[in-house]
Amino acid sequence: MTVPRYLLLIIILLFFPQARAAAATDLVTLTGTITDTEGLPVEGAEVYLYDSDNIRRPGDYISNRTLADGRYRIVVSPGTFWAVARKRVDDARFGPLSAKDKHSGEPEKIDLAPSANLSIDFTVRTLQEAALLHNKRRDDLFKITGRIIDKSGQGIPQVYAMASNSLKTTVQIPEYLSTWTGESGNFVLYLPEGVFRIGAAQSFPPDTACRLDQEISVTEDQDAVILQAICEKP
């Protein structure tokens, strides 16, 4: 008669407490909360653990599906894992994500040492939102866009915007310059928070008589800024 292997394991664990203790300590617990971009808990999401950074396959371990509190819990053997959280709108557990599904972006590498129970929170986003995480603009810079126009309201090509946080209206070469405009007269400046004097010129370097006549207060991104005064060489 052969004893099934799982019975053998139960017997060992029952009658050899050291083995049972060893088995228990070999497992580690990962817990945390899955939220959306507004910080609200996400119901129906899961955490997937992978034993490599190749996450385009079924997970090696999957957590419980979160309830309204967004909490998840997963118990695994110690090791190094790559973790992502996903919320699928169709409740599927496998296969490619659809455009409305949410996920936490690039996998997070986690070292789960023995007895090292960890708490890690995830934020899930739509695929498009997640892709935009690669935003490389510094948080302390604001994007100021607008047009340089003539008196008839037409965009002026081949001019540029310039800004300075100096209080003087005349500056030789201001700290902040846009590229030359195209046919539309559109410009982009990246400015930090503060008060700037701003103007436009049609030659580089700007003529020494150039003045920055407009004032702009920068606390956030701005669009539709209009510049009319073009500094012309005498």
């Binding site: 385009r56 296969g95 490619p96 994500l97 659809s98 455009a99 695929l127 498009q128 997640a130 892709a131 935009l132 690669h134 935003n135 490389k136 603009r137 510094r138 810079l141 081949q158 540029y160 070469i173 700290e175 902040y176 310059l177 590229t179 030359w180 195209g182 982009v188 400046l189 990246y190 930090p192 580089f204 370097p205």
Partner: protein
């Protein structure tokens, strides 16, 4: 590297002097990592190649008989510009000589146990040459690729590769003699007018093609950059390796012999017209110069159109790689500006990490790599990257790419994990891919990707939108999508590609409202696809409209397949039970309307099915627009039409005419005398030779308007237009054509043309010669009912007009003519002899 040089020097070339050590080494494989040979080298025994190897110009690598080169397969996001493939490669810009012997060949292969397909790039000849004798190559992407230069392969075996031998470009040649090329996916692939000589070779049992020769569309020249005339300048200042302090302004001619650094607090301002030249300062002998700029502060290089800033080699014989780069590191605050600049002869023209950079109107030429960056915020507009080994490589960055051209590279653009917005760019004539995108988020609209070896390749992306692009005339697949999800491919043109228009492997998304036609093999080739293919026009492809290779079904209802027997143009489970089923019912019974949103046609494009034009479409100088039989073009009112400076070939047939008409939602069709809105015109402006055959024109302002163009109009019909054809110069030939119910059928101003065998009926004026009428010959036409004049001369015409041998509907021709008989001085119409019966062409065809 030093160790490698020692190995290659002492182990092989000076064998007697190192006998004790070498006796051991000879029996032990040694491993080469990324290496540049700096002197002539001989290999024998066993060589293990773990990374790339470069044989530079002037260096010879000789491989002795019996040598086994084992390659360790890797795929990386390599950044070294002198190499071309992400796989391990042997790059030969000098000379390679493999001297195998009978029964003692030179062998290139992947390490045992690691061979599972195309595991290394192979040997690439790039402006070098190779002689492979008794050589065996396997497991490569392409065993031997000749991009520029010559190779001779004799008594060799090329087996088990993706491509056996690949030769590309008119500057490349390959001779294959007494060799066996077998069991590869492609045996020999010859592209773009390369020279291929085969003698006594066995080329068989290759999966797709044994020998495939593809000469793609000719490369346009006229859009290429014009050289700038330069005024010599004296040297303003020479720099060695030193640091700049505070704001530094450069103008005039600057020479740099070393590395000029700009600290975080500094700003380097370069004025228009400045020339910055870098000496070839090569301290490590790797043929790459090290002079350059290392900027951590802010760069303002603001040239102008008339006075660009030039960065280039200071050497008389300027070579690619003479200097290092404009490096911008950690400068992500104030935006760095690089405008109206020319950057040439560098290793990397522009190179940034963690930077905020705007590149506007910049030309990058003859660099190993034009631009390379990572972790940066970058705007590239109105720029031109040409003839660098690779155009641009970027990763982990946010990029806006607009109206920029990439041509004559190996790879035009290689993007990894970008947030990319690309609009109005052109990627063409690149030897490898036009553009590669891995991971990240890409939105590409209105780009042209043409005449590359492969067009656009997308892999491992989770999200992307690719709409209204033209992906035509690439030697291999136009658009290849692999291991990607949520990819929208809509409104694109995928035509004239050498293998498939669209290839999909293990991907999902939406393939909608595209025109996929005239591809040499398949319109759509699918391994595994999870999504929907609908609303597409998939016609006139060589093998199949759609070919499913994988086991899963493909959802493709609601497409126009251009065939009554759809099953015959789709290869699926019905043909091979091991493959998935194509769910193509219900299929469209006619072509869906394709809204044309691409304003500029820059390459060879074909219109099929139903095209709706809203606005003016420019067929540019180097472009050809072919309109297939049966195509219906509808145009919105007012400004819609075509402006052709390239060539237009509208080739209808008697039973499948092409039509140009007002879109149905533009109100009721106008009568000729009405002022109701009409579509504008098909305009030819110094265009290349063009043809309109079996085309019907309805409800135009002027259907055809031609200036200085050799134009043939044959078997066409013009109905209910304000005007049919007006032309200046020519020559124009209008034959076997019907003009009916137009105010003006034709109008000429200093025209040169032959108007013969046509029928004019119910027009107000048939032919109006405004001035310079002696260049027009009017013969064999039928002038039927006319409300005013059959031929009218304008007030400024002083010349005689030859209108003999026409049929005047049995009336007195003079009553149908306005000439000097009505107004002295306007010239005379010569109408005798007149025909005594209707001309045969359209006689009796009254509408």
């Amino acid at each position: 590297m030093i160790f490698l040089r020692f190995l290659s020097r002492c182990r092989f070339r000076h064998l007697p002097g190192a006998a004790a050590v070498l006796a051991l080494l000879l029996f032990t494989p040694y491993t080469l990592r990324a290496a540049v040979l700096t002197e002539d080298t001989v290999w024998s025994g066993s060589v293990e190649l773990s990374e790339d190897l470069l044989v530079p110009k002037g260096i010879t690598l000789t491989i002795a008989a019996g040598t086994v080169i084992t390659v360790l397969p890797t795929e990386s996001t390599k950044t070294d510009p002198e190499f071309l493939s992400p796989l391990n490669e042997i790059m030969v810009r000098g000379h390679l000589e493999a001297e195998g012997g009978t029964g003692n060949p030179v062998i290139f292969r992947v390490k045992k146990g690691m061979e599972s397909g195309s595991e290394w790039a192979g040997i690439i000849i790039d402006d070098g040459n190779a002689w492979l004798h008794e050589t065996e190559i396997s497991d490569a992407e392409a065993a031997l690729t000749v991009l520029q230069g010559w190779a001779k392969v004799k008594r060799s075996k090329i087996t088990g590769n993706r491509y056996g031998l690949l030769v590309q470009g008119a500057d490349s040649g390959l001779k294959v003699e007494k060799s066996r090329i077998a069991d590869n996916e492609y045996g020999i692939l010859s592209l773009n007018n390369a020279i291929l000589i085969r003698e006594e070779s066995v080329i068989e049992k290759n999966t797709y093609h044994d020998v495939e020769i593809r000469n793609t569309l000719s490369m346009p020249d006229e859009t290429r950059e014009q050289s700038l005339v330069e005024t010599p300048q004296n040297i303003t200042r020479t720099y060695g390796s030193e640091s700049l302090v505070g704001d530094t302004i450069w103008q005039g001619r600057i020479v740099i012999n070393g590395v000029v650094r700009l600290p975080v607090t500094g700003r380097l301002i370069i004025l228009p017209g400045t020339v910055v030249e870098f000496t070839r300062w090569d301290t490590n002998g790797d043929s790459i110069g090290e002079s350059g700029l290392l900027l951590q502060g802010v760069l303002v290089a603001k040239g102008t159109a008339g006075a660009p800033i030039i960065f280039r080699s200071a050497e008389k014989d300027r070579q690619r790689g003479d200097w290092d780069a404009i490096n911008i590191l950690g400068s992500d605050g104030t935006q760095n500006l690089i405008e109206y600049c020319r950057i040439e002869d560098a290793y990397r023209g522009l190179h940034f990490h963690f930077a905020n950079v705007a590149i506007n109107h910049v030309s990058l030429h003859n660099n190993y790599r034009g631009i390379q960056f990572q972790e940066s915020l970058v705007s590239i507009t109105n720029s031109l990257l040409r003839d660098n080994r690779s155009g641009i490589q970027a990763r982990d960055s946010e990029v806006v790419l607009t109206d920029t051209q990439f041509y004559d590279h190996h790879t035009g653009a290689n993007f990894f994990r970008l947030n990319l917005l690309a609009t109005g760019n052109r990627f063409y004539s690149n030897q490898g891919s036009g553009i590669r995108i891995r991971e990240g988020r890409a939105v590409m609209t209105g780009n042209t990707i043409d005449t590359n070896r492969a067009g656009l390749r997308i892999s491992d992306a989770l999200y992307g939108i690719f709409s209204n692009n033209i992906i035509n005339g690439n030697s291999e697949t136009g658009l290849a999508i692999r291991s990607s999800d949520n990819i929208e491919v809509s409104g694109n043109i995928l035509q004239f590609n050498g293998s498939n228009g669209l290839s999909i492997q293990d991907s999902g998304g939406l393939i909608e409202n595209n025109i996929i036609s005239d591809n040499r093999e398949r319109g759509i080739g699918i391994d595994t696809f999870n999504g929907t293919i609908s609303g597409n026009t998939v016609v006139n492809n060589g093998l199949f409209a759609m070919d499913i290779d994988g086991p899963k079904p493909v959802n493709a209802p609601g497409n126009w397949w251009g065939a009554s027997d759809i099953a015959a143009v789709i290869s699926d489970a019905a043909d091979d039970p091991a493959t998935g089923r194509a769910i193509y019912e219900p299929a469209l019974s006619g072509p869906p309307v394709f809204p044309w949103k691409i304003q500029k046609i820059r390459t060879h494009v074909a219109w099929h099915g139903a095209i709706r034009v809203d606005g003016k479409v420019d067929v540019l100088r180097d472009a050809d627009l072919t309109i297939a039989p049966g195509t219906a073009i509808t145009l919105t009112a007012a400004d819609s039409g075509l402006l052709v400076t390239g060539a237009l070939h509208a080739l209808g047939t008697a039973d499948r005419k092409i039509t140009f008409s007002l879109a149905p939602d533009q109100g009721s069709p106008p009568a000729p005398e009405d002022d109701e809105p009409r579509w504008d015109e098909v305009s030819f402006e110094r265009a290349r030779d063009s043809v309109l055959r079996y085309v019907d024109f309805h409800y135009a302002s002027w259907a055809v308007h031609s200036h200085f163009t050799r134009l043939r109009v044959e078997n066409c019909r013009f109905f209910d237009n304000y005007g049919g054809i007006r032309f200046r110069s020519g020559p124009i030939s209008v034959t076997s054509t019907l003009f009916s119910r137009n105010i003006y059928a034709m109008r000429s101003l200093f025209g040169k043309g032959d108007i013969s065998g046509n029928t004019f009926q119910d027009n107000e004026i048939n032919i109006f010669i405004r001035s310079g009428g002696s260049g027009v010959i009017i013969r064999g036409n039928n002038f039927l009912t006319t409300s005013r004049y059959a031929v009218r001369l304008g007030d400024f015409n002083r010349e005689e007009v030859d209108a003999r041998e026409n049929w005047w509907d049995g009336k007195n021709p003079q009553e149908m003519i306005f000439d000097e008989n009505q107004e002295p001085g306007v010239g005379r119409v010569l109408f005798t002899p007149a025909l005594s019966a209707p001309a045969p062409s359209l006689s009796g065809e009254r509408q």
